[in-house]
Symmetry: C2
Amino acid sequence: MNSSTSTKERILAAAEALFAQRGFDGASLRQLTASAGVNLAAVNYHFGSKEKLVEQVFKRRLDALNQHRLAELAKVAGKPSTRLEDVLAAYIRPALELSHEGNGSLFMRVLARAFAEHDDTLRQFLSENYGHVMKQFTAEFARLLPQLDKAELYWRIDLVTGALTHAMSGFGMIQRKDNVTEQQHREQTAAHLIRFAAAGLSHP
Amino acid sequence: MNSSTSTKERILAAAEALFAQRGFDGASLRQLTASAGVNLAAVNYHFGSKEKLVEQVFKRRLDALNQHRLAELAKVAGKPSTRLEDVLAAYIRPALELSHEGNGSLFMRVLARAFAEHDDTLRQFLSENYGHVMKQFTAEFARLLPQLDKAELYWRIDLVTGALTHAMSGFGMIQRKDNVTEQQHREQTAAHLIRFAAAGLSHP
DNA sequence: CGTATGCTCAAACGATCGTTTGATTCCGCT
DNA sequence: AGCGGAATCAAACGATCGTTTGAGCATACG
């Protein structure tokens, strides 16, 4: 039918949407390939297995997120005029904006699922992809919060990540109102998160 | 074999453990009943279906958590001497302590999974069980934070819940060190969370 | 033109799932 | 002791899963 997009990309797009709705185990390859308009065997032909497909769905989005985060961090890292909120914005905004581009809003739910489902395999995969990013952000946070020792800083960054993950997954009480555009809602979320995190990070 | 505990309770205990490890879809009734030492048909006989079993696993723990939370809140609610940290402790400590009693530590992972997997069904279930609890806590937070309007307060409570959920699920960077007992680690987590949340809630 | 290569397709494979069945055992009660 | 409902059991049911197969189609190259 529509061959303007390749079979591989159609599978990836459909997989992202279906994984978000039904979960990794809940989404069958038959639903997935039907939704993508491709043959059932195409997944195993192009990706090798369902599990490899899951990894590719993650890698595609996480690479973009990491690059975006590091680019924003590079703009402010090390500068004397940089405020804590600037680093938090580099950490938070790309994550929230990922929910806005293309089918990205679904990916955030996929990511929330992933943390819970794939116990060690995917967690190690995420750690490998995020490790150096967290290291750079931690170093910059440490520069701006010299009064905190390492252990204390780790604790607080972890709690910020928790609040961010919660906000990204869209599971909280806060729901977007009908009279607010998705972009406005994302901006509100980012603003609240940054102020909340700044207060939690820098409190005495 | 061991009939000191009933078949129903053995199923519930095994289900909690297995759901935490493999997820709701990943854990099969055959694994579950084998682990519990009961017949395969016992689940459908005593609970009606696998889905009903899932609900019971949640209800058992959530009822206890809600009662515990409300009891702690009642000790401080409305009193002039009550500080923000006291209400936060009533909100946070029972949740973290749930990870300590019996097989409760596994339940936190079950809960984290549940948020991601059961899209609307379980979310509605949790909302029904948690609704009145959240209402009471929100009212007390509003009393101690009169400078915040309702919308702002909802945002901040939501972010606190995110940090709490993250900490409970044990998915963060922070891992318990070997020279720290589980109880000490829980106390550290609670202390960090309360201070972090208090700063995030009450910042100007 | 013939052939090689990359891709798609319908169909089937074996495995595993949740659930149901019908017989059998257990246990309290008259 | 004997009846009757509750509980347990082995076995099977139909459905669905991820994966594999082998034939068919397309396009590019000699």
